[in-house]
């Protein structure tokens, strides 16, 4: 398995993630990658409404958000989360990657987009970028643990 240097917060603690996807299977796949990157899964949600509640409860460093979900879709959830928490860092993760979707998500406040199937090395680079995006945020600049994890 490919090895990655741990992505850590400024305080050297693991980056805390909220993983939002209606597919348990897809969440497990993302959780596996988060663990490869030295992160901590602070919460999971299967729809946009639960994602908002979970965000308010755990205030994660990063949200990985699917787009097509029951009850409330990912783009609407992004809009509501960002309205309440303007510094929220949300990365959209969807198999549908056409430009209208990407633009809509970015306009509502998402920081980045990654298409499924997610390649660990692609997600890793996006997370590095997003974590270093806001100089005032907890998790930036990205710190490296100095050890390689498998």
């Amino acid at each position: 398995m490919k090895q990655f240097a741990a992505l850590l917060r400024k305080d050297n603690q693991p980056v805390r993630y909220l993983v939002v996807d209606d597919s348990v299977f897809a969440r497990k796949n993302l959780i596996k990658m988060i663990e490869m990157f030295g992160g901590e899964v602070a919460g999971e949600a299967g729809d946009g409404l639960t994602a908002i509640a979970e965000f308010n409860r755990i205030t994660p460093d990063i949200v990985l958000m699917d787009i097509t979900m029951p009850q409330m879709e990912g783009i609407e959830a992004v809009e509501r989360i960002v309205r309440q928490h303007p510094t929220a860092r949300i990365v959209m993760v969807s198999s549908v990657g056409y430009q209208e979707n990407i633009l809509a998500a970015l306009q509502k406040g998402a920081k980045h987009f990654v298409q499924k199937p997610v390649k660990p090395e692609v997600l890793y680079e996006i997370l590095r970028y997003v974590l270093s995006d806001d100089p005032n945020a907890v998790g930036s600049p990205v710190a490296f643990a100095g050890e390689h994890r498998s």
Partner: protein
């Protein structure tokens, strides 16, 4: 059979399995099918309606689905019907998502319906009158079948209009 409409689905299916499993895959069989689709394992049928219309069926055995799930989760998954359904659904969503991204960026607009999972012994309704292309993809987890039937809606309307009325 419009290959320009079929090709994005073939490419996406091959790429999605290769990337998800982080292993090489190979298209080992490709054939035309005009009969009602006979499911080989657990099938996810996704319908598409709009500028182009048709359906795609992703079909894999429960054993293959469990191997794929374990590979993606990075750990052995406990075998259950729910895991099999979830796996087939998610793989189908990824194949369709990647294909429609290509087609949408080419200017086609359409609605993609949620996958219908078929596990029962009955055949797949609505596939009897459709000429389809069936491909078999060899993966390290086993064979995966994709059945694709797709056509332009405007062409079909035009064809209908040129057929003289029978009454």
């Amino acid at each position: 059979m419009r290959m320009e409409l079929i090709q994005p689905f073939i490419n996406a299916a091959d790429a999605v399995f290769a990337e998800s499993l982080q292993a090489p895959t190979k298209i080992v069989d490709l054939e035309m099918d005009q009969e009602a689709y006979r499911r080989k394992g657990v099938a996810a049928l996704i319908a598409i309606k709009g500028d182009i219309e048709g359906r795609v069926i992703l079909d894999l055995s429960p054993e293959v689905a469990l191997k794929v799930a374990s590979q993606l989760a990075g750990t052995e998954v406990v075998a259950s019907e729910q895991v099999v359904r979830e796996t087939v659904c998610e793989m189908a969503n990824m194949v369709i998502g990647n294909s429609v991204t290509l087609l949408n960026d080419q200017g086609f607009h359409f609605k993609v319906f949620p996958p219908e999972i078929h596990m029962e012994e009955t055949g797949l309704a609505g596939s009897a009158d459709t000429e389809a292309l069936v491909i078999c993809i060899e993966t390290p987890c086993g064979n995966v079948y994709v059945n694709i039937a797709m056509h332009y809606l405007h062409r079909r309307r035009k064809e209908r209009n040129t057929v003289p009325a029978l009454d």
